[in-house]
């Protein structure tokens, strides 16, 4: 089904490209070359895909407990800012420096997410509301930290709000041309998959997500699971921000990659909240992003077309009945997304 959604998204995109007076084949070819043609292009795709994998995992994991974490953006910013701080402020051997910066970034985000979880579990504040609000808190907090009077301001940056560059020892290297950050993301995906499917904690998370009453009946502390789930989910998003900082940007600048946190929702849906499927889903979206530059150079297609294609893919994934109708599939064929967007609302 997600493959059909991708196909439909590309078809709609092709129509748009034709309307704007270009040849979709040429455009898509350029996109393919820009994302997969050669090691540079592939590296770029992986780099783009890394925060998407983690953002997607964050949303997918929270979904397992019936929670809708749309605070990925704020969590990512905190992760980025705190990892940058560890990166520029300390002088440590790389084997300690890199993990420390990643973990501190993740933990900072986890605290923010855990707070939303705590509000939900103890006071009934819906996580959609609190995580959106905390996005603003995180954005303004990190911006202030690097602004003119902020403690993490780059002294050489003049009027630019940003942190200093991280130390070389905190720089995420490339191994054989591949960004290390992507490997971390894959490792995270495998870990989350294992956690969900093999551990007792994962069983508790899924039980709370499927039937919180039965979870309480079975002796699971629903409060504890909600806080832990939101914490882990936010940790993943924060890790995405940290990798972006240490591996790509080299420092924290407020407002970078805005919207990245929300792409996590697209990825999670595309992957049907399966942690392993998040990887190909993120690679797909990452490849489109990476390839859009070359497509733009070769044709007159605006990069926004890529956004439209991604949005259409999400649309078709979220509305399987539309696809069923287009293809005239019979009802018996299971085209369920397996993801109920309404969960999270109304569950306490």
């Amino acid at each position: 089904m997600p493959l059909l959604a991708v196909a439909f998204g590309l078809i709609v995109g092709a129509v748009l490209i034709v309307v704007s007076g270009d040849n979709p084949l040429v455009a898509y070819r350029a996109m393919l070359e820009g994302s997969l043609g050669g090691s540079d292009a592939i590296g770029r795709t992986l780099e783009k895909a890394t925060p998407l994998v983690l953002g997607g995992l964050a949303v997918a994991f929270a979904f397992k407990a019936g929670l809708f974490n749309i605070g990925g953006q704020g969590q990512l910013l905190l992760g980025a800012a705190f990892s940058a701080w560890v990166g520029f402020n300390f002088d440590l051997p790389a084997v300690i420096h890199i993990p420390a910066a990643l973990i501190v970034g993740g933990l900072a985000a986890a605290i923010l997410g855990g707070l939303a979880g705590l509000l939900k579990a103890t006071r009934g504040v819906h996580e959609v509301i609190s995580t959106i609000m905390l996005n603003f808190v995180a954005a303004n907090f990190t911006e202030w930290m690097v602004s003119r009077d902020g403690p993490w301001k780059d002294p050489e940056g003049g009027a630019i709000a940003r942190t200093p560059l991280v130390q070389d020892s905190a720089d995420l290297p490339r191994i054989a041309g591949l960004p290390t950050g992507f490997l971390v993301a894959v490792l995270a995906a495998v870990s989350i998959w294992w956690l969900v499917n093999r551990s007792t904690l994962g069983f508790e998370v899924k039980t709370v997500g499927s039937n919180p009453k039965a979870a309480a009946y079975a002796g699971i502390s629903v409060t504890r699971i909600i806080v832990i789930t939101m914490g882990i989910s936010a940790f993943l998003a924060g890790l995405g921000g940290a990798i972006q900082t240490l591996g790509v940007n080299g420092r924290f600048e407020p407002g970078f990659q805005t919207g990245l946190g929300f792409d996590g929702i697209t990825i999670a849906l595309l992957a049907r909240t399966n942690a392993l499927a998040v990887i190909p889903a993120a690679l797909l979206i990452g490849a489109m992003d990476a390839g859009s530059t070359l497509m733009q150079a070769r044709t007159n297609v605006e990069p926004e077309v890529i956004n439209v294609i991604q949005a259409m893919i999400l649309f078709f994934v979220a509305a399987p009945s539309v696809v069923r109708w287009i293809l005239q599939l019979s009802e018996a064929e299971d085209v369920d997304t397996g993801v109920d967007l309404a969960t999270g609302w109304g569950t306490t």
Binding site: R198, S199, T200, L201, F203, E204, K206, T207, S210, N211, K213, A214, A215, A216, Y217, A218, G219, I220, A332
Partner: protein, 536 residues
């Protein structure tokens, strides 16, 4: 029609299937409804296999069968939800092939579903006319006309409702009347009631049965789906019994007995009364001392309840639902905090931590199995370890051991006769009786000292009821203390060694079942005169 009398049933228990019963057919009269050889297949199953059915105007037909016997499928064909693969439906002698429920309604068929199709924030009148409103100029609903019409109908059929009440505020029994009125408003001549008594209190049930008789007297035909034999015998004119999709018995109610119907339903003779050897009760296992508990709306619901359950006895708590049973049971099992008083199990005080209470040796069969006791999308295996998933052998240091889980599941499915193709089948696809067996298997297979069973057989088939009753008795015989909470007086009387009655959050009486009557307990349940306890 000619083969109606043939013994459809191979096992030979459909003894009451008879063409020679006088009055089964009424020559010269056109039946209100007749089904001939109705067959419906779903991938892998024959849900209905050549089912015949006959109903005359003004009659009540009981459609009896265990869960999964094909009752719902049959009426869904009549109501236009499914299309029959073979066979014909004759309605007043004319072939009926409803294309959808709207079509069926137009032709005079009404259905009251088990789960009401009402809009809670709307009033009674609004709900009844919904979709068939009379409107004034500009498309506004003519509320006054609707209310007048509803009043008229309610008077005509003796269904007492206030059309201006908001449906969401009404008790279940009244909501059901609204559903019935909705069908009558649309001109139903044949009314299908799908398990209408499943959610009702004994009093509401009696009221419904009286309403059904009145409706029939007014010429409405009724198909009454249930698996409660007593209700069938009390109200119906004729019965059709389905088993595994086949009509295994068709009889006039006057010729049937509880035993003959139960036998047809299950396909073997059923022990309706439970064998219970006398047994001396031991030490108190559960003691509840002047306990007060609040409900979800923070209202005091249990207002000082005290009782004991001893080892090797079943204490039955009888009461109309909503008198604090749920809150009491949740307080005992650690799911709800206790305002004052205390509960102790084997001398250890109960705290507001369900896992702790379980580990103290408590098994708990919750009243709402779907909501509390099972995780629908999970496999049977996962549900069978729902309360033990975290400890060895099912998990070691936080890592689950699926081999052990499966081993346990295979064992329990076998031992508790859970009918399923596979232990990995999602539990939500099981029938009600088998779902309950999953819970009973999980709860009664451990080493416990106390069993708390709340409405353990509500809404399940006779075969499963029999099985679960025997399991509870077995637990008692092994020396466990059993607390049974039930709204079914039959169940209370056949299982309990002592009966306590709960009314408005208080235990108002305790009785020895041998020294009391259904009438006395029923009176106490309804808040009648409380005499001095004859110390049970």
């Amino acid at each position: 029609m000619s083969d109606r009398g043939d013994p459809v049933d191979g096992t030979g228990v459909g003894a009451a299937t008879s063409a020679d019963q006088s009055g089964f057919e009424r020559p010269g009269e056109v039946p209100l409804l007749e089904m001939r050889g109705l067959t419906k297949r779903f991938p892998g199953v024959v849900a209905n296999d050549k089912v015949d059915l006959l109903l005359y105007e003004g009659e009540i037909l009981g459609l009896l069968g265990e869960n999964g016997a094909g009752k719902s499928t049959l009426v869904k064909m009549l109501f236009g939800i499914h299309e029959a693969d073979e066979g014909t439906i004759l309605f007043r002698g004319e072939e009926l092939k409803p294309s959808d429920p709207g079509d069926a309604i137009d032709k005079g068929i009404g259905m009251v579903h088990q789960h009401f199709q009402l809009v809670p924030p709307l009033t009674v009148a609004e709900n009844i006319v919904l979709g068939a409103e009379t409107t004034r100029a500009g498309g506004f609903m003519n509320r006054r006309a609707a209310e007048a019409r509803v009043r008229e109908l309610s008077r005509q059929y003796g269904l007492d409702v206030d059309p201006t009440d908001v449906v969401g505020d009404l008790p279940v029994g009244i909501q059901q009347r609204v559903e019935i009125l909705k069908a009558l408003y649309r001109g139903a001549e044949l009314l299908i009631l799908d398990e209408p008594t499943a959610l009702l209190t004994p009093q509401e049930t009696d009221e419904l049965l009286a309403i059904m008789r009145d409706l029939a007297a007014d010429g409405v035909g009724i198909i009454f789906i249930t698996h409660k034999l007593r209700e069938i015998l009390a109200v119906t004119d004729r019965v059709t019994v389905l088993r595994r999709g086949k009509s295994v018995g068709r009889t006039l109610t006057a010729d049937a007995t509880t035993e003959s119907l139960a036998e047809m339903m299950v396909g073997r003779s059923v022990v309706l009364s439970v064998e219970k050897p006398p047994r001396e009760a031991g030490e108190a296992v559960l003691s509840v001392n002047d306990v007060q508990v609040r409900d979800d709306r923070r209202q005091l619901k249990v207002k000082g309840a005290s009782f004991e359950v001893r080892a090797g006895e079943i204490l039955g708590i009888a009461g109309v639902e909503g008198n604090g049973q749920r809150e009491l049971v949740e307080a005992i099992t650690g799911l709800r905090s206790i305002v004052s008083g205390n509960v102790s199990i084997d001398g250890q005080e109960v705290v507001n931590r369900p896992r702790k209470v379980r580990e103290m040796g408590t098994a708990y069969i919750p009243e709402d199995r779907e909501r509390d006791g099972l995780v629908g999308p999970y496999s049977i295996a996962d549900n069978l370890v729902l309360t033990h998933y975290y400890e060895p052998p099912f998990a070691n240091h936080g890592v689950r051991d699926f081999e052990e889980v499966d081993k346990k599941a295979e064992l329990l499915v076998e031992r508790f006769d859970i009918r399923t193709p596979d232990i990995h089948t999602p539990v939500k696809s099981l029938s009600g009786g088998n779902k309950q067996k999953v819970i009973v298997a999980r709860e009664l297979s451990d080493d416990n000292t106390l069993v708390v069973a709340s409405q353990p057989t509500r809404g399940i088939d006779v075969g499963s009821i029999e099985f679960i009753h025997s399991q509870l008795i077995a637990a008692r015989n092994e020396g466990l203390a059993v607390l049974l909470v039930s709204a079914e007086l039959d169940e209370i009387f056949s299982l309990s060694d002592r009966i306590a009655v709960i009314y408005e959050g208080r235990i108002v009486a305790q009785r020895d079942p041998a020294a009391t009557t259904r009438e006395e307990i029923g009176l106490l349940m309804a808040g009648g005169e409380v005499r001095e306890d004859s110390a049970a």
